[in-house]
């Protein structure tokens, strides 16, 4: 939320598109704006009414360079748009940089995506540090069709306006999406998994709000499910995970916190990763893998890794070390890692490196998505 938590005091808000862009038809602009507003009104008891003349609560325009509000636009790329927090006059107004190429699709900047983000500001939300949130400040395409507000945004907007009632007269219920979260299309994606771990006899693959379970040697029956359905505390975007099978314990990392589980049962509240001995500048773990032979867990952070002695429960000296220097043939940042049949599988973007710890070299490279049957 913004400092002082500004919000609208009424629940019917007017909006007006006062200047259009030449890069899209007016009809498409109208549609993108309407859909972006609906993304918010489906979560909170706010209603948006369009007007075509006079002063609306939310004045929407495409502007170029200096446009009189002390926040000049900077031409193509850079700043795409901005919006003002709720209030009189300029409050709620939303400006898009007319120098951008605006589109309804992916070829250029998707207007729905940017407008939905800006309307979050116009309703009282500041930027989020959660990279899966709509209110994260950098551009990431969102499909307008079937779009649902991420959890962090729902939490933020409902903190200001409360949840939307389903029907007049019925009890107030929290906003729940009508369908399960969209499943990331890993078969047609250059992205990798967020985290991979063994859990008992299964391999778990995490991506955004979804995870896949598969038997190690079986490709059949791999089905996605929501993280919240099995690990409600984790909600989404697991950074790293590993299991110490001898203890029957698994560890799930998210930002500076981690959770311990026995099977799918979370044990106790989250703890901080600094208990492992990480320096304070480490704020999240990219990947973790437990090596059964040495009983050590490797934690990957950026282009470096740490080694944690599970027997002594202590971080080893002389770390971090450079990952590419120590693991010959493994290139790029490690997204996830898991040990299987004596090999370490490093997931980096669309590639998985199969690393032989005895040969100390990569012995093959697989497509990351092949793990879930693509």
């Amino acid at each position: 939320l913004f400092p002082g938590e500004p919000k609208w005091k009424k629940n019917i808000l007017t909006y007006r598109i006062s200047k259009y862009t030449s890069s899209m038809t007016s009809a498409d602009v109208d549609k993108a704006i309407e859909m972006a507003l609906r993304a918010w009104s489906s979560a909170v008891p706010l209603n948006f009414v369009r007007i075509n003349s006079g002063e609306a609560d939310i004045m929407i325009s495409f502007e170029t360079g200096d446009h009189g509000d002390s926040y000049p636009f900077d031409g193509p790329r850079g700043t795409l748009a901005h919006a003002f927090a709720p209030g009189e006059g300029l409050g709620g107004d939303t400006h898009f940089d007319n120098a951008e190429k605006w589109t309804m699709g992916k070829n250029g900047f998707n207007l729905f995506t940017v407008a939905a983000h800006e309307f979050g500001h116009a309703l009282g939300l500041a930027h989020s540090t959660d990279s899966s949130a709509l209110m994260y400040p950098t551009y990431k395409y969102q499909n307008p069709y079937g779009f649902r507000l991420p959890k962090d945004d729902v939490k933020g907007i409902q903190a200001l306006y409360g949840p939307r009632k389903t029907f007049p007269g019925k009890p107030t219920v929290p906003h729940t999406p009508p369908h399960s979260p969209s499943i990331p299309d890993l078969c047609d994606s250059s992205s990798s998994f967020d985290a991979v771990t063994m859990l008992g006899k299964e391999l778990l693959f995490f991506k955004d709000r979804i995870f896949w379970r598969r038997q190690v040697h079986l490709m059949a029956g791999i089905r996605p499910s929501t993280i919240t359905s099995s690990f409600p505390q984790l909600m989404s975007n697991v950074d790293a995970a590993y299991e110490v099978a001898e203890r029957g314990t698994a560890y799930f990392f998210k930002g500076p916190h981690y959770w311990i589980t026995r099977g799918f049962q979370i044990q106790g509240p989250p703890r901080t990763i600094y208990e492992f001995g990480f320096p304070r500048y480490v704020q999240r773990i990219d990947a973790a893998v437990y090596l059964r032979d040495t009983q050590k867990t490797l934690f990957f952070v950026g282009d470096e890794y740490y080694s944690y002695d599970e027997r002594k429960r202590k971080m080893e000296k002389d770390y971090p070390k450079n990952t590419e220097e120590e693991f010959s043939g493994v290139n790029g940042q490690i997204d996830a890692a898991v040990e299987l049949n004596g090999y370490i599988y490093f997931f980096s973007g669309p590639k998985t490196y199969k690393y032989d710890t005895e040969k100390e070299d990569v012995v093959s490279v697989l497509k990351s998505s092949s793990w879930i049957g693509c």
């Binding site: 795409l80 748009a81 901005h82 003002f84 209030g87 500041a126 400040p137 950098t138 950026g302």
Partner: protein
């Protein structure tokens, strides 16, 4: 402050100017004397702002202008500052 830069001198200068503009735009409260403060090359204030930026984006907090920080700076984004009292 040579430790701020790891690239070639020309790229470093360009990156520096980009960083300067970015920090002024998104990591400085408008209308104060802090704009002058933040642009002082190599000053603690600039390092502090870089650290703020890195912490906000979940990067490794070094206070140095490394590649991942430059990547974030070059990414298209919303014009609302991450830290300022934007009203």
């Amino acid at each position: 402050a040579p430790s701020l830069f790891a690239a070639t001198p020309r790229t470093s200068r360009n990156n520096y100017h980009l960083l300067q503009a970015y920090l002024v735009k998104y990591y400085t409260k408008k209308g104060g004397h802090q704009i002058g403060e933040v642009v002082a090359r190599g000053s603690n204030s600039m390092v502090k702002k870089i650290k703020e930026l890195q912490a906000f984006f979940g990067l490794r907090v070094t206070g140095k202008l490394d590649q991942s920080t430059m990547d974030v700076i070059k990414r298209p984004r919303c014009g609302v500052p991450d830290v300022a009292n934007y009203r």
